[in-house]
Symmetry: C2
Subunit: 158 residues, 2 copies
């Protein structure tokens, strides 16, 4: 185990502790880094910014995108004070993160009142079995829109 991994995960815990004690949000922080060099960090600010998506990992990924000037974080590693929820884990996949280091796990989070296991279970279910009811409307129109996208000459894929 290289020392910089320990240093970075310890820093996420310090950041999360500060965030919590200052009342800026939940006890969560994350860092995006490569080869032990920190690129960007983020802290949970759900309750202070009225943004249910403002989890630490999402904020760190967004900040990293701003710093790099790209939406691609391929080759970067995500350090987080707690095992990611499915939203943040999915964001890591979209961003191209190739390694996640975490301190507390989902069970610890659940004991502190942050339960994401039901969301993991819901995501894995077929659409029609989820607690959030999901219905298709005007399916042909949305499909036609996506078909138009395919024909656009100057589109930027991600």
């Amino acid at each position: 185990m290289e020392a910089h991994h320990i240093e970075l995960i310890r820093k996420t815990i310090k950041l999360a502790q500060h965030n919590m004690r200052q009342g800026h949000g939940g006890p969560f922080a994350a860092i995006i880094a490569k080869d032990g060099i920190e690129l960007a960090s983020g802290c949970n600010s759900v309750t202070t910014t009225n943004d249910p998506t403002a989890h630490a990992e999402i904020m760190a990924i967004r900040n990293a995108g701003q710093k790099l000037g790209t939406w691609k974080l391929d080759g970067y590693e995500l350090y987080t004070s707690c095992e990611p929820c499915p939203m943040c884990l999915s964001a890591a996949y979209w961003a191209g993160i190739n390694k996640i280091w975490f301190s507390a796990n989902s069970e610890d989070a659940c004991l502190a009142g942050f339960n994401d296991s039901h969301i993991y279970q819901e995501i894995a279910k077929p659409t029609e079995q989820r607690k959030i009811d999901m219905s298709a409307l005007l399916p042909a129109e949305g499909k036609a829109l996506l078909a138009e996208w395919v024909t656009l000459p100057d589109k930027v894929m991600y």
Copy 2:
């Protein structure tokens, strides 16, 4: 089927079409509404804002939180031009969305180059079997931090 559902889903398709044709991002838009009254909307801007989390549903949820002045969207419905990816679906659960209406489906999106099925598959796997390698570091320190959170008198839960 009440007419306002059709109107709102058609509006997401129009917004998505405009977003795509103007080069603002991918062909995706979403609206947060209750009882047919639109609260907020959002469009995909991943490639123009360098934010891999800037999917339409995430943007709509963030905008809704700003407008309402809270991170709780309980009782609100999400209209989206395309079936949500696991990041956006998880965000809907965190926000308390109780109904999702979508036009195009995940298969349509995949045919247009937006494949999220592998992320759905990854999310459902045990931690140690995922393509993004995940490792625990200093687990006791993160656990202690969450235990401190439980003892804080003035914490705001979400």
